[in-house]
Symmetry: C4
Subunit: 241 residues, 4 copies
Amino acid sequence: MMKLSSRLIQHSRNQLSRKLLYGKDGDVKDMLSLHSFSHRAGISTSGQNIAVKGSIGDRIFAPYTIFKGKAALSVAPMLPTFTKLESGSLVVDRRGSIMLTFMPAIGERKYDRERRQVFSLSATEVGSLISLGADESCEFFHDPSMLTSNAGQVRKSLSIKPHGNGSGYFIALSVVNNLLKSKDNLGVPVTTAEFAVMKTACSFALPHIMGWDRLTNKMPRGTEGQTSMIDRQALSLEWDK
Amino acid sequence: MMKLSSRLIQHSRNQLSRKLLYGKDGDVKDMLSLHSFSHRAGISTSGQNIAVKGSIGDRIFAPYTIFKGKAALSVAPMLPTFTKLESGSLVVDRRGSIMLTFMPAIGERKYDRERRQVFSLSATEVGSLISLGADESCEFFHDPSMLTSNAGQVRKSLSIKPHGNGSGYFIALSVVNNLLKSKDNLGVPVTTAEFAVMKTACSFALPHIMGWDRLTNKMPRGTEGQTSMIDRQALSLEWDK
Amino acid sequence: MMKLSSRLIQHSRNQLSRKLLYGKDGDVKDMLSLHSFSHRAGISTSGQNIAVKGSIGDRIFAPYTIFKGKAALSVAPMLPTFTKLESGSLVVDRRGSIMLTFMPAIGERKYDRERRQVFSLSATEVGSLISLGADESCEFFHDPSMLTSNAGQVRKSLSIKPHGNGSGYFIALSVVNNLLKSKDNLGVPVTTAEFAVMKTACSFALPHIMGWDRLTNKMPRGTEGQTSMIDRQALSLEWDK
Amino acid sequence: MMKLSSRLIQHSRNQLSRKLLYGKDGDVKDMLSLHSFSHRAGISTSGQNIAVKGSIGDRIFAPYTIFKGKAALSVAPMLPTFTKLESGSLVVDRRGSIMLTFMPAIGERKYDRERRQVFSLSATEVGSLISLGADESCEFFHDPSMLTSNAGQVRKSLSIKPHGNGSGYFIALSVVNNLLKSKDNLGVPVTTAEFAVMKTACSFALPHIMGWDRLTNKMPRGTEGQTSMIDRQALSLEWDK
C-alpha cells in the first residue's frame, strides 16, 4: 500500500476542484494516486512485462466526485493492461475496472483521505450498475485477499439501494478487516442526475475497460499506397466448420 | 466581458448557417466567441499555465442551434482544461461544460446577439438533462459572482419544463442583474426531436467534458518495439488494503 | 445530377455485397456515388473553398442496406464540411446528414439504381428517428428546390409508420416531380432488429454529422514538452456577465 | 479450418485470465485464434487483396467471456475488411460481426476448446440482441455451407430466451453436422448484468463492425496550411434531383 501522510481535504462550492488539486505538491500526488487512471497500455514481450521510463506523462486524472455531508465518492476508470506476444499480437493481461473511492467527512466540507476505502467494479459489475432499474438494488462482495493465506480476513461489500421516493440511490461500502481489527461503513446519497452521470460515463468507459475500444478501424493512408494485412481465416472460422 | 458591437442576425431557412457564419469577419469572430469549444487542452507545468502561440487553429465551432419565434437557443460543448504536473501526469484543471446561449428575436428571423444570455451546464446538470423523463421538469440556479464581493447581484435560473401534451419541452433562462438593473427572460420551445438531439449530443459530450475520453487505449506501435509503462500499483490498491 | 447509365443490380443472399461492389469498375463507382460518405473535411481559407488533389483516398463507403421484396433502402452518413477562418479556427460550413437511398425492385433480387430516390435527414430529423416510440410515426417534407425559381416543383415526403403488430416500421418515400411529370412511391418494411441497427448507427453518427466528434480531447505529447493554448476567456463568459 | 490440438482449459476465479492466456505459447495462439479481432483493415487495389507482412502486430484479443457450469461463452468483435478502389476510395468488402464462441465444460472449471462451436452475428442480428425486451426471445439460423455443394449439411441455430423470473437469458447454440454425423448443444445462462455488458459492448461495437467508425472527422493540421477536398457533389445529390 502506498504511504500517505494524514491529510484533510477542504472544499467550498466553487473553489473545490482547484483546492483539491493545488495543495502542496505532495498533496496533489497523494490525491491523484487514488484516482489514477492512465494509459496503462502495459505491454510485455512473450509474457514478461517491461516498464519503460518516460511514459509516465500518459497518466490522466479526471475522477467524477460526489461530495455529500458524511462522505465523498469518486468514480474513475482504470484501463486494462495488455501483453504483447512474440507474434506481435496484443492480449488483455489484466482487465480494466471502474474504481470507486469513498472518503469520510470529518467536518463541514472536509474529507479524510487517510481513511478512504476503495472498491473496484469489474465489467460485469459495471453491467449491473448501468442496467439497474429505478426501484432495483444490487450488492457486490469482494475479498481482496482471496486465494492468499489471508483469504477471508478482509470482507468488502458495496450496495446500491434506491431511495424510497425514486429520487436516486444510496451507495454504501462496508469493509470489515480482521487483520486491522477495523470496520468501516461509508455511504453517499446519489441523486438521479448524479447517477445518470455515473451510468453514462460508465457505459462510455465499459468498452474501454474491456479493451474493445482498440477495435476502432484505422484509416489506411491511401495516398501512400500502404496496405494492411487481410486475415480472412479468422472470419471464415464459422463457415469452415 | 467581451466588447461586442450591436448587431442583428437575419436568416432564412436554407441560407441560415451561411449567413450566420459569413458576415463581416468581425461578425464571424463575435459569433464564434459565443460557441467556441476548442481543443483547449490547457496544459501548465506544476500549476503554472502557459499559453503557447500557434495552437489557435485547434478551435472548432459547431453549435446546435434551435431557431424559434421569440428566441434562439444554441448548444455547444466546452472541453475541460488540464494541468500538467512535474511528474508529467495531467489532471483536470477546470471541468468542461455544455454552454447554452439564448438570443432574443427582434423581428422575423432576426436575433439580437447583443442581448444574448448564457448558461453553462456542469456534468451533473447535464446528467439531469439526459435523464429527464417525458413528464419531468428541472431547474438550475447559478450565481456567476458567487464568492466575490458581487455575490447575489446576478441570479440566473434555467428551467426545462414539459409541454402539457408530451410534445417536447420549454427551456427558459431568467437573468436578474442588480448591477445593471436588468431582468431578462428568454425561452425556446423545443420539440421531442430537438430534445432527442440535445440528449444524444450531450450524452456523447458528457465523457468528453469530464475528461474521460482521454481514456481511449492507445495502440502501441508494435512494429517499432515500443512499449509503455505498466502501473500495477494503482490497480492493486484495492487488494493491498 | 450525376450521369448514370441504366443498370440493374442483382443479388443472392451471400454473394450480395460482393456482387454489388465488384461489378464492372464503372458500376462500382456509380454505386458508391450514392453512398459516398467521406472525410469531406472541407476546408477553405477565409470563406473560399479550396479543393486539394490527392485526398480522394479519404472516401469510405459503408452503407447499411436493407433489401426487401419491392425495394431496397440504404442508410449512410454524410459528414459536415468545415470552413477555415483566417484565425485558423474551423467552423461548420454545411451540416452533415444521414442519407437514405431507395431503389425499386424490378424482379427477384434485382434493384434499379437508375430509378433510385434519396432523402437526406438533418440532425433534428435524425433526432425524430432515434426517439421514435414503438407505436409512433413521423413524417418529413423536403423541397429540394426551395428558394430557387423551381420552388414547389419537387415535393418529397418521408414517412416512418409502425406495423400494427409492433414488429417494426414501414419506411416510405414519396417524390412528386412536376418538372419531370413523375411521381414515385418507394417503401421498405423494416424489422425491429433492422430499425435497432438504424437507431444505434444513427445515434452513433449524430454527433459526427453535427461536427461534435471533433470535441475529442487530444493527448498532449508530454515527453516532448509541448503545450497547448489555454483559453479561459470562453469558459469565463458566463461568470463575466 | 485451423488445426488445433486437443486441450483443456482450467480456471480459478482470480487467476482465470492469466491461465487462459499464459499457457504454453502454442496454447495461447490457439486460444487467440478463436477470438481474434484485429485491425483487419483489409485493403486491396482494384479488387485484388494484398497481404502485407508486418501488420500482424495490429491484432488485439479482448473477448468478454462468461464461464458457467456447463459451458463458457466468449463474445468478441470482428472488424470488417475494406477494398481499395483505383480511385483511392475504400469500400467495405466483408462486413464485420460479433463472434460468439461456446466451449463445453468437462469438469469443474475446465472447458474443452476442441469441442468449441462458433456463431457469427451479423449487424442485423446484433440489432436483434441489443433491442431484445426483458420478456422477449430471438433465434437465428445459419448454414455455413450455404451456396456450396454441402448446403444444408450443417445447420446452426442460436437462441436467446428469457429466464422465467426476469433475471436474465439462456443463450444456446445447436449445431447439427450431417457430414461429421455430429450434433452439439451448448448453452449458457446469462445474468441481467452480463447481458447488459453484452448489450453495451455490442452497441459500442455495432458502428465499428459496420465500418461507420471511419466516419470520425479528422482534424486538419491547421498550422501547416493543409486542406482537404470538398465534395459538395455528393451532398447536393438530393437537391439536384
